[in-house]
Symmetry: C2
Subunit: 671 residues, 2 copies
């Protein structure tokens, strides 16, 4: 055995038993994948991964994604042993309150974790987004002799990942986009929770990925380090296709449970753990043993990383000297900051007298104004760009005619779109957006939730936001979607009422750097609600504001509208005022923004004493009691929509000025 | 030209122009796919489809699914011309209020529509479920010489369908299950909304489906009727693999817009429509022209269908004579009714003194009790059966060891699982259920929504329903999911508080024949809340009921709990009572069931005058204002969970008896 082979085996076993010990101590977790896949990720990290443990934010680092997030201890072990700020104490605190080692890896909680994973398939698809961002930035900014953006995106992926639909979507798109720097190690262990993978997964994975346009390597023996090295080299050598390396492994390797579903998701038990240590020649005590040779060997990552980043920094300096404008722009993009004058011009887009315009159309105009200044803006639609109005005119198609194009074509793949947009945001350098109909928000909830949990800036555009889309009928008319998005913590949902609010909504989305934003837009035309300038619409940033009131002071009744129904509230307000009611009309484009205002502001808009409150929104009524309570009323939907022209639907479902007025009169009569 | 060829062409053009005329008249809709794919579906319906237009409910009919639901007019044309109860007037009313011809096909609205489609991928995956049901019933009930269940499931599928992840999941599982009677025609027209499919879809579809274990036929010319016939025959001849027939077509065939995205989703326009009619030799006037030869030719479906069903009925009679018990049981299953004594025994499952038990565990016991009587019960999990406790012991694995097994193994494919379960319900003969963690409900929302819209009986089991799952952390802890499910109209969400309520929840799910039910179950143990029998738990069927109160009459305060937190409400109630508060504790397992009770019942549980109301649920607080209003309080979550043992999480997030008491005292002090 050479020294190197010796260190390799020691390091791999250290990773295995850090995981098994931590799971045993926590009495909870997943030892099987860490024990089976340790040689794969060890080889990748030891021989290939370009990273700087002392600066996890180095922009040109390779990205590593652990798609089976339940194998989190494998990643924590790697991070600890390669010198990230993750002391052994944290590993001993695995899955405990306030530790840096939660049950599944969480972005922002642990240095070196590139993305939150756990829900299967997400890591795979997020990694595709990272590779998109790398390619985009490389094409935009690299110059001959200056390869300043040039890194791989690696992932470990599991059987479960490959079964999820989001993976299929992302894999097909990655093949279409020829993302050659995407290299995935497939932990092919033949086992899933219910038993042998044959139970539900008899497909030929190699042929399937070949069909997607991937280079498929293997199967190789997942214990054979030279084979793993060769496979990764072969993957690196292919620059026009993503690579999937099929690695045959044994789940729970070394333990009595090895090769069975029993090894997957529960501690090995004291006896099993001891047997595994004996089988692999590992000291039985102490738990969390790390041989000093392993510390030294894997700790070399620190100096290697420092040198690598220093080399890159020198090349960046040379680039900056040769291409100062590009370097400045790249720096700005990587910082995530917006250029100083980024929002200028928005205010002039919709002068008084602008014809009624769908908010999807005004959004399209805003986007096309923003792109002139915000170069990081990149996105696209799940095959609905002509309808969502999200095309950036004159900015090219990413991956089709040019890799520096700003327009993504996701195909009819909403789920992967959400994950890829997140991955682009996680990579850094881009402000990505997706677009589809609000109805199809249901297809992309898992990545939206992850973005909210991670606190990253992604913008999800959803058009055709209600029965207002008309004839396509209930399969396409969102009813419950607004509430179900508002329910996601840290997702800011904004449904602007007119073109001015739409401009402000985009502004809010770009300013929101601590979480994703969903923009909810109409198919049908909406009149401008602010007479002669757009200043009024700035109230959007507080979530809700007084759009109009019959007179100052405490009103008798408050009408609250969102989006396309705000105009109905306004009309009803005018009519109620004409009938002598002291009435206030509140535009409420965003519950989240409003709920984050100080109590005093909220009270100034919705005084506690005023209980005659009517909310109107062409969405399910449930949820609006948050603002109107048990004493108010909601004019909205109570079930699914129907197929008919939009105007008729509003009438048939009773979402009208008359209904608002009738509700208000009834509340005032019984108050 | 032979007579047959003549009739074929006339019929195909009639289908094309019924669609194009209807879209033109509605000024809305999708002419492109009907015009391109008319030869495919015409050939299938004319030469192969076994159906009886005068009895769309004939159990052994072939199923036909139009997965690209936007091509609805193609299906309406077929139904009209083959003699279903869909008069020409309805086609002229396409996409209008109260017509039987909504924008996308809707199950229950139009005779002959087997499933609601529109959201892409769903039709594909639902069809897989139908084929599962056919296979299951055939294996259970056919006997040598008695092939009483023996039909195909056909679908037309589009580029968009094949891009959706749910399709990949369903296709992989269909291959694994060797569903040989599944025959899909792929309308391969190279066009999607954003342009050429190459923009986002360069994969090799044939190779991909081959990898899934499908027979791939073609590509064939989608205009060539003999080629289509031969392909379908070849598909029928293969009984161990599903078949995909790749048919090259031209979107908008015959129109000036043919072969472009312009033909997809908007009317051809008067000029375009006229040009198309001229190009295909069709009379320009009147619109909705149906040549009498077409009426006669396609109308033969009526007599053919009557004969086919009569033949089947004769065979059923012979079967009933030979196998009376089996015939009776099959009839019962097909009727959807439950056997007379189906719920007997549930009441005895959990006698007083039963140890605390997770509701997932009591659910498993209930399921295993039910299966002894309710033979139609069939389902499974997305690779989590050991955790969801949904395995039916001793009832075999469907498709693995035996096709009459009751246990499905869906793999890690939640989205397809939802759709397949729906397809099984739509087929008839089965009461299907799915199971996964509540967190992953997000992966399967689109089919759950469709089930709710269609009003079909499907049961979705969701376990690990809160922070109570502990260490797996926020990626696995549902927070917003309860509200987002409650937001779906006609989906009944039930979160039982103990084993007795769990038994009643299953009972409610099986009794609910007009919509799907989601059962929300705990990972952690829950004590029995009903002392000496389960009668009290029957209040579950009313959604909410008085679990305990300090004394009769109007209380000072009402505590409302659901699921695992009901015990906290009960404890707090006892302590408040001890402190002299007149208190009522309401168990509220289902908002939907409660909201459907008469006003008098709701008032008897939650008297309007009592405003000191505290709701407790380990879920997002938003939404509970529906019951506690602006004057009450909610003890729940306000953001994501965390990774730690469950008990600690409850403490850290303040979901405790103490917090409930404090809230109640505060409300009483300020009232």
């Amino acid at each position: 055995m050479t020294d190197e082979t010796h260190w390799d085996q020691l390091s791999i076993n250290a990773l295995r038993f850090l995981a098994a010990d931590a799971v045993q101590k926590a009495k909870s977790g997943h030892p099987g994948t860490p024990m089976g896949a340790a040689p794969l990720v060890y080889t990748l990290w030891d021989r290939f991964l370009k990273h700087n443990p002392h600066n996890p934010a180095w922009p040109d680092r390779d990205r590593f994604v652990l798609s089976p997030g339940h194998a989190s201890m494998l990643l924590y072990g790697l991070l600890h042993l390669t010198g990230y700020d993750l002391p052994l104490e944290e590993l001993k605190n695995f899955r405990q309150w306030a530790s840096k080692t939660p049950g599944h890896p969480e972005y922002g909680e642990t240095p070196g974790v590139e993305v939150t994973t756990g829900p299967l398939g997400q890591g795979f698809a997020h990694a595709v987004g990272m590779a998109v961002a790398e390619r985009w930035l490389a094409e935009h900014y690299n110059r001959p002799g200056h390869q300043i953006i040039d890194h791989y995106t690696y992932a470990l992926v599991s059987d479960g990942d490959l079964q999820e639909g989001v993976t299929s979507e992302a894999a097909s798109l990655a093949g279409t986009l020829k993302l050659g720097k995407l290299i995935f190690l497939y932990d092919d262990n033949d086992i899933q929770i219910e038993g042998d993978t044959d139970l539900a997964f008899s497909e030929n994975v190699a042929r399937r990925f070949d069909a997607y346009g991937w280079q498929v390597i293997g199967p190789i023996d997942g214990q054979d380090i030279p084979a793993i090295e060769n496979a990764i080299r072969q993957a690196q050598a292919e620059d026009a296709r993503p690579s999937l390396i099929i690695c045959q492994t044994v789940i729970g390797f070394g333990s009595p449970q090895q090769g069975t579903a029993k090894a997957h998701g529960e501690p090995l038990g004291e006896a099993g753990l001891q047997a595994a240590k004996e089988a692999l020649g590992w000291p039985l005590q102490p738990a969390f043993h790390v041989p000093s040779e392993v510390k030294k060997h894997m700790g070399q990552a620190v100096s290697r990383g420092r040198d690598a980043e220093a080399d890159w920094q020198a090349r960046m300096d040379a680039y900056a000297a040769a291409f100062p404008a590009e370097a400045a722009e790249l720096s700005l993009q990587l910082s995530g900051d917006l250029p100083a004058d980024w929002g200028a011009g928005l205010v002039d887009l919709f002068p008084a007298g602008t014809s009624p315009m769908a908010s999807r159309a005004s959004s399209g105009q805003v986007l096309n104004a923003l792109i002139g200044r915000v170069h990081a803006l990149t996105g696209g639609s799940a095959d609905l760009a002509p309808s969502t109005k999200t095309h950036l005119s004159g900015y090219g198609d990413f991956g089709w005619d040019e890799y520096c194009g700003h327009n993504m074509h996701f195909g009819v793949r909403e789920h992967a779109m959400g994950a890829i947009v997140n991955g682009m945001a996680l990579h850094g350098g881009l402000i990505p957006y997706s677009a589809t109909f609000l109805q199809f928000a249901d297809y992309m909830r898992p990545p939206m939730r992850l973005a909210a949990l991670m606190g990253i800036r992604a913008v999800y555009v959803f058009t055709h936001d209600s029965i207002g889309l008309g004839e396509d009928g209930p399969t396409h008319q969102p009813v419950e979607h607004l509430l179900s998005l508002r329910a996601i913590p840290n997702l800011t949902v904004i449904r602007p009422a007119d073109a001015h609010e739409t401009a402000e909504a985009w502004r809010a989305a770009l300013l929101n750097r601590s979480g994703p934003t969903a923009l909810i837009l109409s198919r049908q035309n909406l009149p401008l609600l602010h007479d002669d300038n757009s200043a009024g619409a700035r109230g959007l940033h507080k979530g809700a504001y007084i759009l109009w009131e019959s007179q100052p002071g405490q009103p008798d009744a408050i009408l609250i509208g969102s989006g396309s129904e705000t105009q109905l509230a306004l009309e009803a307000g005018h009519e109620l005022a004409a009938a002598g009611v002291r009435v206030r009309v509140v535009s409420m484009p965003s519950w989240e923004l409003f709920d984050h205002q100080p109590e005093s502001y909220r009270e100034s808009i919705l005084p506690s004493a005023v209980r005659a409150r009517v909310a109107v929104e062409a969405s399910i009524c449930l949820g609006w009691e948050h603002y109107v309570g048990l004493d108010g009323a909601v004019v909205g939907m109570n079930g699914f929509g129907a197929s008919a022209p939009a105007g008729e639907l509003y009438r048939y479902f009773g979402i009208t000025t008359e209904a608002i007025m009738a509700s208000a009169h009834k509340l005032l009569a019984t108050a």
